[in-house]
């Protein structure tokens, strides 16, 4: 209905290969960016910024990473949180042990370290597939948990293993207020999302999808299977590493290893499933959903149950609803919210015709 595509024709491959070839989509994206970069930091309350938007964006980056690994390359992983904690601790140690290192370089290095660890745990993916690979990534999860609690060097010998992130300064400008932290994370998320989108529409993305859909055929075409899988593991872990670093520096400030446990990996896995495997938008939709749904649930339950709830009952019910939601999504629309959005868009472009 909103689309007015008549007269929008493309005369070059550049125009045809664009991420948003239709003007209406470009306008919508531009407005979204303006709202995100200008309106939100000015208008949103500190609570909304720190409690909702910051975690949403930070986790969305990790979800982007998992989406590349599982959505595009089809390699199943339950170890996302492990790579996040590697990123967080690496960033902390870089800031600690390398005086004067610029913040952004720290994040990149943290990402690279996580990518390195990702490659190591990606090696087995050549010989083993499916569930077994999930178990291998579980090994990463437990091993990293154990490493950061047991080896004190990482947490600069702090007794409980928790680390306090150094204050953030970029080119002399302290990034302390919620708005500034939000803008930092938002810009990093935008850049990484664009990079992921570009990868998905070029040879790398096609190689991933080829390996995901039918690796035997991919090999016969000449796609190096192991290299493609490792690149996926590396880039995915890079995203998780950056996300972990941002979690420590921009969101919480102090981080203990338990913050990146198996529950975190499940949370990001749910985000990618509900958001939509194999789509960049899916990561953001999923992360927004996972953070907004408990608030919505809380509000609904208070409407129904007047009396004060037994402590902890709310979080139990939340668990039940999340579990049920996963099943509902898998039955109704296995490709998640992004697919629902895609169907709506297609219908709008064809409106009023059904096909």
């Amino acid at each position: 209905m909103i689309y007015r595509e008549a007269g929008q024709f493309r005369t070059t491959y550049v125009a045809d290969q664009r991420i948003f070839p239709i003007t209406q989509d470009r306008v919508a994206m531009a407005m979204l960016l303006i709202v995100a970069f200008v309106v939100v930091p000015a208008a949103a309350s500190n609570y909304v910024l720190t409690a909702l938007l910051l975690p949403m964006l930070v986790l969305a980056i990790a979800a982007l990473g998992l989406n590349i690994l599982t959505g595009y390359a089809g390699q199943f992983s339950l170890g996302t949180a492990a790579f996040m904690s590697v990123g967080a601790f690496a960033a902390y140690n870089f800031q600690l042990r390398v005086p004067g290192i610029p913040l952004l370089v720290t994040f990149v290095l943290a990402g690279l370290v996580a990518a390195g660890v990702g490659l190591v745990f990606g090696l087995p993916s050549l010989r083993i597939k499916g569930f077994y690979l999930a178990v291998a990534t579980l090994a990463a999860q437990f091993f990293v948990d154990w490493l950061f609690t047991k080896v004190a060097w990482f947490s600069n010998d702090s007794p409980s293993g928790t680390i306090t992130a150094q204050p953030m300064v970029i080119a002399g400008l302290p990034i302390d207020s919620p708005a500034r932290r939000y803008l930092l994370v938002l810009s990093i998320a935008a850049v990484l999302a664009l990079a992921a989108k570009n990868l998905s529409r070029t040879a790398t993305g096609r190689a991933w999808m080829a390996v995901r859909d039918m690796d035997v055929a991919a090999e016969v075409i000449g796609i190096p299977i192991l290299r493609t899988k490792l690149v996926a593991f590396g880039i995915s872990s890079f995203y998780c590493g950056v996300s972990g670093a941002l979690w420590a520096f921009a969101y919480l400030g102090t981080v203990e290893p338990q913050a990146f446990d198996l529950q975190r990996s499940f949370q990001i896995l749910f985000m990618v499933i509900i958001g939509g495997l194999g789509t960049v938008m899916g990561a953001f939709l999923g992360s927004a959903f996972m953070l907004l749904f408990p608030l919505f649930l809380n509000w609904v339950l208070h409407l129904i149950v007047r009396t004060e709830l037994r402590p902890g009952l709310l979080s139990q019910l939340e668990l039940v609803f999340f579990g049920a939601l996963i099943i509902v999504f898998l039955v109704v629309e296995p490709r998640g919210l992004a697919r629902l959005w895609q169907i709506t868009k297609e219908k709008l472009r064809l409106w009023p015709f059904p096909h």
């Binding site: 007269g7 929008q8 009023p352 059904p354 096909h355």
Partner: protein, 648 residues
């Protein structure tokens, strides 16, 4: 250089004044390949020089056969630059029809699109001794063909560039010799009246009429046009080629005949021309697709369309409309009408013409209520089309508008429409007799259509002059008028009426396979194909309903009340140009049909319940087969007088 009064000079002027703006586009390899006016001039210059080297001389003819392709339009420019006459042929014509035109126009050189056309030419080569050279554009499949006869388009341009280098300025000198009175193009009429004849139109004919149309509708160089109609038809030539050269706007060629709808949506033309048949097919697809929509969408569509039908035309004409209606229409436009225009590719249309045959009131009102500025137009190949045009704001259902700029229109004693204008043609090629016969002594062209001027000075066309007949009791019998009324139903694709020198009016009816098929599927009525569907009694009842509705409408007009259809039959096969029953542009060839199906016509006037028929049919791949069926003779209710009609 004098003011540009020939197409090559116009081309050169555009290349100088707006050299970088797009002149022509073609959807190929997934994107719209574009050529600016400068690039078109270079391409035309090298092609013209190449054709000259092949021996094309001033006054000779150059055949052009294929879908709408930039390279074929350039062949027209190149021929005109050398003073030769381009002769575009219908790309889906069978080999025999091509043979007649090629020999009649004494064609020595032909520029064709692809292997399909080359094969047709090779098939008729024996009967066209003059044909020496075939220039092809798409080399697909032609690697092992006889090199003597065939030249590739690129090689010809290559040779042309050599000539340019050896004789710089050759092209400009040839263009210099062109006169506006030279013959710019020869279009063969579809010959509803006897054998096809070559209509010679000069540069002056086309440029002045074109310029008149452009000024009247204030068209500019920014128009976007989709060239999807056959290049051999005057509709394509005037609105795309000549007006494109005069106004300097860009002509876009679709990827292939079956992607026209998507290409239409992508280009979003601002200036559009379509014969009623194209508009009718579009409306049928709209209604079929809407039938499959969800209940809510169908309800919303029905509500918005009924509101649009009531107020749309008035709003489009700028007439006063109550505020409530205007708000209602705006909402309908937001939800249904706007998106519908967008999906069909009509959002940017400023001026849309329809001509070639009468258009049904419902069909015409549908597009105007949709907010598309569709206007009726009257004209013929011999008058470079633009004779009468409906002015903006005074668009009526039955009339074809007021005379175009510089056009005199009068009605002869016998009721025939006659025209005098700068667009009147230079005569039929090698047919002096026919030319004289078609002109009046004082220089008016006899259109052969019967009509009259209504009170607002709008011309109304009722039928072909020679077809208008009389029933036994003397009442006027206009077969085309009846047929058009029948064809305005989506279920009826074609109809042929009989009644001249007969006691009452009768008709053959051909159903529309898509629409009736969809109607049958909705009632899960199984059918195995066209003939089977046409023989079903349920379908006969459906057609009877349509015929009786036409009778009711005829009863309202005192002059036509007597010619209500008393009996009709549903034909067992579609009328098809390949069987000679229709012309290339799908107009009914009444005489041929009356002769071929004489026993059926007699049966309509006899008392028997049905008639057996066996006819030869030509299939797509050229094989022929026999189709036979028993066609029941069906009665239709006659409305006696006004009161009875209102009661029914």
């Amino acid at each position: 250089m004098p003011a540009p009064d020939t197409f090559p000079r116009l081309l050169i002027e555009h290349a100088q004044t707006r050299g970088d703006r797009p002149a022509i586009r073609e959807k190929d390899l997934g994107i719209w390949q574009t050529w600016s006016w400068k690039q078109v001039l270079d391409e035309v210059r090298s092609l013209a020089c190449g054709l000259h080297t092949l021996g094309l001389r001033r006054g000779e003819t150059l055949a052009i056969i294929g879908d709408n392709r930039p390279r074929l339009y350039w062949a027209m420019d190149a021929a005109q630059a050398l003073g030769a006459i381009p002769v575009p042929l219908y790309q889906d014509a069978v080999a025999e029809e091509m043979a007649f035109v090629l020999s009649n126009a004494e064609v020595r050189i032909a520029v064709v699109e692809d292997q399909e056309q080359v094969d047709k030419l090779l098939e008729v080569k024996a009967r066209c001794p003059l044909l020496e050279i075939i220039v092809y554009d798409d080399p697909r499949g032609l690697r092992h063909y006889d090199r003597g006869l065939l030249r590739s388009y690129d090689d010809v341009q290559g040779v042309g560039r050599d000539l340019e280098r050896s004789q710089p300025g050759f092209f400009e000198r040839e263009v210099e010799q062109g006169r506006s009175s030279d013959v710019a193009v020869m279009l063969y009429t579809s010959g509803t009246t006897g054998t096809p004849k070559g209509v010679m139109l000069s540069h002056q004919n086309l440029i002045e009429t074109g310029r008149g149309g452009i000024q009247r509708e204030r068209l500019t160089a920014d128009e976007e046009v989709l060239a999807y109609l056959p290049m051999a038809w005057v509709g394509d030539h005037v609105f795309n080629y000549s007006q494109g050269h005069v106004a300097g706007f860009c002509v876009s060629c679709p990827e292939s005949p079956d992607t026209v709808l998507t290409d239409m949506r992508e280009i979003g033309p601002t200036y559009f021309f379509a014969p009623p048949r194209v508009l009718e097919n579009l409306l049928t697809t709209v209604s079929i697709r809407m039938e499959d929509a969800s209940r809510f969408k169908r309800w919303l569509y029905a509500r918005c369309m009924s509101l649009a039908r009531r107020w749309g035309p008035a709003i489009l004409d700028g007439k006063p409309v109550p505020l409530v209606a205007r708000v209602g229409y705006a909402l309908a436009d937001l939800f249904i009408l706007g998106p519908l225009r967008n999906v069909l590719g009509f959002s940017r249309v400023r001026v849309a013409y329809t001509a070639g045959e009468a258009i049904g009131p419902d069909l015409f009102r549908f597009y105007r209520s949709l907010g598309v500025n569709l206007k009726q137009l009257y004209g013929s190949t011999e008058t470079s089309v633009l004779v009468c045009i409906q002015p903006n704001g005074q668009v009526k259902l039955e009339s074809v508008g007021t005379p175009a700029t510089g056009v005199e229109v009068r009605i002869s004693a016998q009721g025939e429409v006659q025209v005098k204008s700068p667009g009147v043609f230079r005569g039929y090629y090698k047919a002096e007799g026919a030319t004289l016969e078609s002109m009046t002594p004082d220089g008016f062209f006899r259109t052969g259509d019967a009509g009259f001027f209504d009170e607002d000075g709008h011309l109304r066309i009722i039928d072909r002059a020679k077809d208008v007949g009389r029933l036994h009791d003397g009442t006027l019998f206009a077969p085309k008028y009846l047929e058009n009324k029948l064809k305005f139903f989506p279920f009826i694709k074609e109809a042929v009426a009989f009644g001249d020198h007969r006691p009452f009016a009768t008709a053959f009816v051909c159903i529309d396979l898509a629409a009736v098929g969809n109607w049958a599927e909705r009632r899960n009525l199984p059918y195995a194909g066209y003939t089977d569907l046409a023989s079903q009694t349920a379908v006969h009842e459906l057609v009877r309903g349509c015929v009786e509705e036409v009778n009711a409408a005829l009863a309202a007009d005192p002059r036509l009340k007597g010619s209500q259809l008393r009996r009709f039959l549903v034909l067992h096969k579609e009328l098809d140009a390949d069987d000679g029953e229709l012309t290339r542009t799908r107009k009914v060839r009444r005489g041929f049909i009356a002769e071929k199906y004489a026993p059926l016509v007699e049966a309509l006037y006899a008392s028997g319940p049905s008639v057996h028929v066996e006819t030869q049919v030509r299939f797509e791949d050229g094989r022929t087969g026999m189709v036979q069926a028993d066609l029941p003779i069906l009665e239709a209710m006659i409305v006696e007088d006004e009161a009875a009609r209102r009661a029914a």
